[in-house]
């Protein structure tokens, strides 16, 4: 636990945070642990999927795809073995929620995986955890050991006749491995380069077999959905945007932290009530609402109910829930540059527009930051980003392009202020030679 809970939170998946020894199976069992799985063992796969559909639980990793629908794509009569894979690669800048879920309530994640396994007839699953989270891998390994020891994993789980093995698998430092098909490539021991889709993981995933692949938070919500029922879960949020989510608020607020709020919670309330407003009495300038891949919002755009549909209406995205708050003193050009440095560094390099585009943009933004930007550069940044949008092999290209377009469109004046002519005004003809 790293932040004080707030009364406005609706703690469903974070309900056990703060209980002493929350990671242990004894604590888990004492707090409705594995109840959802035992219920699922008595339900048919169709019933479980129906419950998920009713809940309108959507992927919490960033894409927001309806979970029930995703699980229904698994062809159960396909003779190949099925797999459950957890995306715990959490590398989207601004995001730090899966970390808490694994650290404070690892059994909840295990239970979510077990329910998925039961639904699709799977016997083997992997939790792909980013390499940097080594201490969490250790915590998860311990929890898995406990689960096995108590008969919640392995053969004939608690007499249900269900077999399921679950293991951790470490990444080694690559943001692109958060993309589901690149994650599968990495899990198969290869470079984290995405795959041609179709086919999608539900049909051809791990080892070319049907696979359910979801974010940590999504799996963690599943036991709760089964315990309280899909409708009750849905009712916590807004229509078609059911349930709660973990928002990671960072930046210039008084009380940054990870808060679990219902879908549709007001962004204004988030910033000013839950997080105590802008620190140092400063004014709000901008918010990056859903991780670095989401287009920035100006201060005057930061008042709306935060659910998937409304984020889309605001021409940004719910994304990973990484909400980064920027005050009036923030240098937007520097933020834009750092964002592009990230994408250029993490681009897997497979396709031309992303590999070359992110690098080119990074170089232009570097010059802008250094004060050697030319007037044409601003429009060039915009054009190049547009040339990447929708043209790349995977969404990383879009993730790099959209925020850049957002920064330039909404804070053009900051870019103009950084032009060479404004930073170093020409006072003598000799200087023109140096500018070139």
């Amino acid at each position: 636990m790293f932040n004080e809970p707030h009364p406005d939170e609706v703690r469903v998946i974070s309900q056990r945070f703060g209980i002493p020894n929350s990671a242990s199976i004894d604590t888990y069992l004492a707090h409705e642990g594995y109840v959802g799985f035992m219920k699922a063992a008595e339900m048919t796969p169709e019933q479980i999927i129906e419950e998920l559909k009713v809940s309108s639980l959507r992927g919490r990793g960033g894409a927001g795809f309806p979970t029930g629908l995703k699980w229904s794509f698994i062809p159960r009569d396909n003779p190949k073995p099925k797999y459950v894979v957890v995306n715990a690669d959490e590398s989207e800048p601004g995001t730090c929620k899966d970390r808490l879920l694994i650290q404070n309530d690892p059994h909840q994640l295990i239970e979510g995986c077990m329910i998925a396994a039961r639904t699709i007839g799977c016997k083997l699953g992997y939790i792909y955890i980013r390499g940097e989270y080594r201490y969490l891998i250790d915590i998860m390994d311990k929890a898995l050991e406990e689960a096995y020891a108590h008969g919640y994993l392995g053969k004939n789980i608690r007499g249900t006749g269900i077999d399921f093995d679950l293991y951790t698998h470490t990444g080694a430092g690559a943001y692109e491995c958060g993309e589901e098909s690149a994650l599968l490539e990495s899990l198969e021991g290869k470079r984290g380069v995405p795959r041609i889709r179709p086919p999608f993981p539900a049909v051809s995933g791990l080892y070319a077999s049907p696979t359910v692949l979801n974010n940590v938070e999504t799996f963690c919500a599943v036991p709760a959905v089964l315990r309280m029922g899909g409708q009750a879960y849905a009712d916590l949020g807004t229509p078609k945007n059911g349930g709660t989510r973990m928002l990671c608020v960072s930046g210039h607020v008084n009380k940054p932290g990870v808060y679990e709020v219902p879908l549709g919670f007001s962004m204004q309330k988030m910033i000013y009530d839950v997080c105590g407003g802008i620190r140092g009495g400063k004014k709000l300038k901008a918010v990056i609402p859903g991780g670095s891949s989401s287009p920035v919002l100006r201060a005057d755009e930061c008042d709306f109910p935060m659910d998937y549909d409304n984020y889309a209406r605001m021409k940004t995205m719910a994304g990973s829930g990484g909400m980064m708050v920027m005050d009036e003193d923030t240098d937007i050009v520097k933020v834009a540059l750092r964002t592009m440095r990230f994408y250029a560094h993490e681009s897997c390099g497979w396709c031309i527009p992303c590999r070359e585009g992110t690098t080119w943009l990074r170089k232009i933004l570097t010059r802008m930051d250094e004060g050697t930007g030319r007037r044409a550069d601003i429009d060039l940044i915009y054009e190049l980003a547009k040339n990447m949008l929708g043209r790349t092999f995977c969404p990383l290209g879009d993730a790099a392009a959209m925020p850049t377009i957002g920064f330039v469109e909404k804070f053009r004046d900051e870019f103009e202020a950084r032009l060479r002519e404004n930073v170093m005004p020409v006072t003598s003809p000799d200087q023109l030679i140096a500018i070139g």
């Binding site: 041609i196 993490e346 681009s347 031309i352 527009p353 590999r355 070359e356 690098t359 040339n387 043209r391």
Partner: protein, 702 residues
């Protein structure tokens, strides 16, 4: 009563840029467009290899699909409406090329690829006139990975064709992709160098000048070369190699126009092994041994000397021995055996035999569908390789089988004395010592009975009675069987077809007066004349007859020349016109690419000796077209459609007919066991082949 299910559609209808098109279901959009003459640009898409969708050049608009789609991964669907020439697409192509050029160096003036570069072509057609890039390019220096291969990371556009060509096409997998993002580059299997087949497939498939060949670097421009398509003179597979000739010198070989039976495939010998023809030790003048030493003399002197000797031996009923080389053309082989039989009244003609095709012909007699071509190797549902390290010894045949597995899921079976590359993708691979192959085959019977058909390729360990046993076993499988009898060199098959054998005439008719075999000639201490053309029989064997008058037509002063009384400078196959027949019986045309001063083709030398001996009328005109006419008319199996040959195609011969009742000298049939890096007599003089670290290579090491 159940309603009958509709048959699946055999054709899909769709439109591209307003044109109504149709294609079989499953066809990729890019292929369907290509066939209709609509060009969709692509770097990474390459027919025959796995899909990448990496370059993004082939993006098109498809109605009802919100995002642009890559034509290289999208199968056509009924009613699909595609637009490939909209402003959005033009902008996309221009933008992608602009991105690509940001780090690509402006090397055109010095880059080998200039003039045949796909990036140049694309930029010319779809690109922007100017780039807006004013930053510092990311640059890495060029690397040399082997005596053959150079890699320039700066020029590399990361289309991954080379990786696929090496991994999928060649089955070697010596190239991979390293690093990440803009630092990505191709990496070789030995960290800083390559250990591979050195075939150069990667270099030829590279669309730009990222991969270049050490043998061709900085030598010339493509438009300065004359390109001559001929047949590789090394192994028996018969690959077409297009030689690039500048100022009467061969500077490169490739097959990028995909002509011939080999498409783009060539091994190191076909691509780079032409340098033996330009070795400085080529014999360039006739020589006579005078006082124990070979002295250069005029052609008339040498020809007269030989004619004189031959006439006198003939008149006194002496014994001739004629050794025909297995790189000679069909015309030369036919003419030589005619010279021997009609001119010298002898049947003592033979060649170095590397496979028992004769017994196979006898065993399959009457079955006209029993010999396989290279196309069969690509189409067959199953293949069985016995006693050959195919990837080393018959690289084109191995390539065909590998492609058959990749594209058609064919089943490969191998029975070999050691591990072979085919085991990486075979259904079953058995290691069996030489001599015990047939026992191992018995163990495969059940599996093979389950196949729809099989092509059996066998090496020199299956000869004589073993061939009959093999055919008998195969006919018990109850499925159609075709055979390939593996032989060593570019015209080993032609040597047999043309009757360069003591007991068989051209076309496998039995010679009523059989003569001495090669082994018998060399061991006969009463031999009067040994006439050798394009061969080195005395390399490992001494000539028993000390009195024998030895005449050799050769390119180099080899061991036979060291014993010879007369040496004639002969031309290499790259300097000849004529035809040659490959291991699978496909006859193809050779076209002379260069000339070596002083050398004459073996055919011309035969003709000149005949003329000196007054036998011109007897043996006939010696020009290659006239001789081929006679072959075409009179040799069984060679009545092939001439247009195929004349246009540079491969015509399948089929000499199967009745029994071939001879006693094959099994002890004289032996394969030379060449690897990818050795090529009998020719390989000794190829500096390129002998310089690569993999030389000499080894069989059965996988």
């Amino acid at each position: 009563m159940s309603t009958p299910t509709a048959a699946p559609p055999t054709v899909v209808n769709f439109s591209v840029d307003g044109r109504q098109l149709s294609a079989p279901p499953g066809t990729l959009l890019i292929d369907a467009c290509k066939r209709a003459g609509i060009e969709i640009p692509a770097f990474c898409y390459y027919e025959g290899y796995s899909l990448q969708a990496a370059c993004r050049m082939c993006l098109v608009e498809v109605e009802k699909m919100p995002k642009l789609q890559t034509a290289c991964t999208l199968p056509v669907s009924e009613g699909m409406i595609v637009r490939s020439e909209t402003e959005q697409i033009h902008k996309a192509r221009k933008g992608t090329l602009e991105f690509l050029l940001t780090n690509h160096p402006l090397d055109c003036p010095v880059c080998d690829k200039g003039g045949e570069c796909e990036l140049q072509d694309m930029v010319f057609r779809y690109g922007a006139g100017e780039s807006r890039f004013t930053e510092v390019k990311h640059h890495e220096p060029e690397r040399q990975w082997s005596p053959v291969v150079f890699y320039d990371p700066a020029r590399c556009i990361l289309c991954y064709r080379c990786v696929r060509a090496c991994n999928e096409g060649m089955g070697v997998g010596a190239l991979g992709v390293g690093n990440r993002g803009v630092y990505s580059e191709i990496v070789p299997n030995m960290v800083d160098h390559l250990e591979c087949d050195e075939c150069g497939a990667c270099i030829d498939i590279c669309p730009v000048g990222a991969l270049t060949s050490n043998t061709y670097r900085y030598k010339t421009r493509p438009w300065e070369m004359q390109h001559v398509g001929t047949i590789c003179t090394h192994c028996s597979n018969g690959c077409k190699t297009t030689l690039g000739v500048r100022n009467d010198e061969i500077v490169r070989g490739n097959n990028r126009d995909r002509s011939g039976i080999n498409g783009e495939f060539l091994c190191i010998k076909g691509r780079y092994g032409f340098d033996f023809a330009q070795h400085e030790e080529r014999v360039t003048a006739p020589m006579i041994r005078i006082n124990g030493k070979l002295e250069a003399v005029s052609w008339s002197k040498a020809l007269g000397f030989v004619a004189e000797k031959f006439k006198s031996v003939s008149a006194s009923g002496g014994t001739f021995g004629v050794v025909a080389g297995t790189h000679l053309t069909n015309e030369e082989l036919f003419y030589l055996q005619k010279f021997t039989r009609a001119g010298l009244k002898s049947s003592n003609i033979d060649h170095i035999r590397s496979g028992d095709f004769v017994t196979l012909l006898d065993a399959v007699s009457g079955n006209l569908e029993s010999l396989a071509t290279t196309d069969d190797l690509y189409q067959t549902k199953a293949a069985l390789v016995i006693g050959s390290d195919l990837s080393q010894q018959h690289p084109l045949l191995a390539f065909q089988l590998r492609a058959d597995v990749r594209h058609h899921n064919a089943s490969i079976y191998t029975v070999t004395p050691g591990p072979v590359r085919e085991a990486n993708y075979s259904k079953t691979s058995v290691i069996s010592p030489v001599g015990q192959e047939l026992e191992a085959l018995a163990g495969l019977s059940e599996q093979l009975k389950g196949e729809k058909e099989v092509v059996i390729l066998f090496g020199d360990s299956i000869k004589g009675q073993k061939v009959r046993d093999l055919v008998a076993w195969a006919s018990e499988l109850g499925i159609p069987v075709k055979y390939v009898c593996l032989v060593d060199y570019s015209n080993s098959r032609g040597a047999m077809d043309m009757g360069a054998m003591p007991d068989l005439l051209a076309g496998y008719a039995v010679d009523p007066h059989p003569g001495l075999s090669l082994g018998q000639m060399l061991n006969h201490d009463g031999l009067d004349v040994l006439w050798v053309a394009g061969e080195n029989p005395l390399r490992h064997t001494a000539l028993a007859s000390t009195k024998a008058f030895v005449v050799t037509q050769t390119m180099f002063l080899d061991e036979t020349a060291q014993r010879a009384d007369v040496v004639f400078p002969s031309a290499s196959a790259y300097e000849k016109n004529g035809t040659a027949t490959n291991v699978t019986g496909q006859v193809q045309r050779l076209k002379a690419a260069v000339r070596t001063m002083g050398a004459k083709t073996d055919l011309e030398i035969f003709g000149l000796i005949a003329k000196e001996m007054g036998l011109a009328a007897e043996i006939g005109v010696w020009t290659h077209d006239v001789v081929f006419k006679e072959i075409h008319k009179s040799v069984r199996g060679y009545n092939v459609p001439l247009p195929i040959l004349i246009t540079g195609g491969a015509a399948a011969t089929n000499p199967v007919n009745g029994k071939v009742a001879v006693d094959v000298r099994v002890d004289e049939i032996r394969s030379a066991g060449d690897t990818l890096f050795t090529s009998g007599e020719l390989g000794r003089y190829s500096k390129l082949l002998t310089s690569v670290p993999e030389f000499p290579g080894a069989l059965y090491k996988r």
